[in-house]
Subunit: 325 residues, 2 copies
């Protein structure tokens, strides 16, 4: 088991990311607040370089580690772009292993950063093995998507910025909701927020059928999704929590919530209408948890992280149109 | 003629707006930059409170002026919401005169801030007269949409923030493009940018058929649109430049550009794909001017302001779908 990341590691990550990552604003809509009877703040990581928070962890890991021969990563698309961008900015070659059915915008975004892409079938092949094999043969360093202290510390800068913005506006958040796949964002944010706002609850949001973190938190041990189902939330399809991320999250996360597809689509329309933000389906899970009342907003102050916005324009238009009917 | 606003007036406006308006980030997409062969930065005022820059001028005007009995405004929707929000935050009643065919999101947004709404037919009635009549009868103060030094100074804080962000990142912009209706945003931004970056050109972007500012800049005198045509850019349908705004803009604006409807739709899709931002049609005009090459980006550094994001979700989905074909 690698070392547990600390709050100080997140501060170090913030220094590494200064001038590289976008310090995303903390936004709210008084009109939506009126409707909800509480205060809902969103942290739009869709505005981050590469369109998701993943750049933070990838850059922190690559800038802070040993990566002489370049880097290898496996990812459904957001970590892919984060690693490709960070490697490019730091002057390393990158090979990214991606599912062949990843959104076109994610494949194009990864390729645009100069990375070599190896595709695999999501159902038949183990992406970890393919990436591991590339790493062994090439001498490149594997940059894992979440189960790594430097990755977690990098994602934790999202929490640090939330804490700074809240402190600067005299806001004491009652809860922060994260979109949760393998748990890297959640672990980083939980470490930062629990340090700065010890009374603030942390909740995860996962799509229906992919509720491994929610069930793991309930049982206290890592649970896996065994029968997988289709989901529009392509960014959140991890089958079980990471080892290290769950070690953090079991202690710091209050509870896991599970959101339906229709709640996710409504959240995407809410992001469009009230915040003028394009959220990808997986990126809207935390907002879905808030507006559907799974994490109540009424009489409270809630922060929902919009974790990414990498969705193909035609798919987005279809989902928004569906959200109208 | 009221006094010309100065750079110092914009600094005063920024102090009034501190903690009230969102300091919107200055975003860029390295991937889009590669495609354009230059550097394109966007200033997303769609993320501003009320979904457009208009809140800045309205708040500055109402907070800095005499408005004992409340305020009246006429607007197609963005100024309406800006005035309604500012009046509500400052404790004044507001009456807003809006066209009956304004986007539903703009009417709902205005009503949500507690304003009384009076609608009129865009083709038959003079909104200025209706608003003037309300003001006379009620003793309320008319807050004009652009032709006012305090309004211009408030909108100028957009330019101040662009200048600050550029200076902080050692960027010297070659040009700034504004979306232009009556010219208030343009005048404020031109005052701020010409003070801070004297070598930077200012360009306006207007929709086809509503090119009064472009023609006025060419002739040196205010020109009017006489035969009006339908346009998706509902926020930019001013028939001629304001007196005061044009007095500023004739001296500080380099040239006016005119963008087609298809360029506007492509810009909306660009905002979605590369910046994860929802731009309303009128709010995408400046970006359209940049990506269509009317203001060349190749080898240069260009800032395009996305002035607003108040578009109904169903209309947005339709336009994005059209932009795919």
């Amino acid at each position: 088991m690698p070392d547990m990341p600390s709050y100080a590691d997140i501060e170090s990550a913030a220094r590494r990311l200064a001038g590289k990552a976008v310090i995303t604003p903390l936004l709210e809509s008084p009109r939506l607040n009126d409707t909800l009877g509480g205060r809902l703040l969103v942290k739009p990581e869709c505005l981050q370089l590469t369109g998701s928070f993943k750049f933070r962890g990838a850059f922190n890991r690559i800038a802070g580690g040993t990566t002489e021969n370049g880097v290898v990563a496996y990812s459904s698309g957001n970590h892919a772009q984060g690693v490709a961008a960070a490697a490019s900015m730091l002057g390393y070659p990158a090979v990214i292993v991606m599912p062949e059915d990843a959104p076109a915008i994610k494949i194009a975004g990864t390729r645009a950063w100069g990375a070599d892409i190896v595709t695999y079938s999501r159902h038949d092949e183990a992406r970890e093995e393919i990436a591991g094999s590339v790493a062994r043969k090439s001498g490149m360093t594997l940059v894992p998507p979440y189960d790594d202290p430097m990755i977690i510390a990098g994602q934790g800068t999202v929490g640090l910025e939330i804490a700074d913005a809240c402190a600067g506006r005299d806001i004491a958040p009652d809860a922060v909701i994260t979109c949760c796949g393998g748990g890297g964002l959640t672990a980083g944010v939980a470490l930062a927020i629990s340090h700065r706002f010890p009374g603030c609850a942390i909740h995860t949001a996962e799509p229906e059928g992919w509720d491994d973190t929610a069930r793991s938190l309930l049982s206290g041990e890592r649970q896996s999704v065994t029968e997988t189902s289709a989901s529009i939330c392509d960014a959140l399809l991890a089958r079980r929590p990471g080892k290290l991320t769950f070690e953090v999250n079991r202690n710091l996360v209050h509870s896991g919530t599970v959101v339906t597809e229709s709640a996710v689509i409504r959240a995407m329309v809410t992001a469009l209408t009230f915040f003028k933000l394009v959220a990808e389906p997986g990126g809207a899970a935390a907002l879905a948890s808030a507006i559907s009342g799974m994490v109540p907003v009424k009489g409270r102050t809630i922060v929902a992280i919009i974790s990414g916005g990498n969705v193909d324009a035609d798919v987005y238009a279809d989902l928004v149109a569906r959200g109208q009917s």
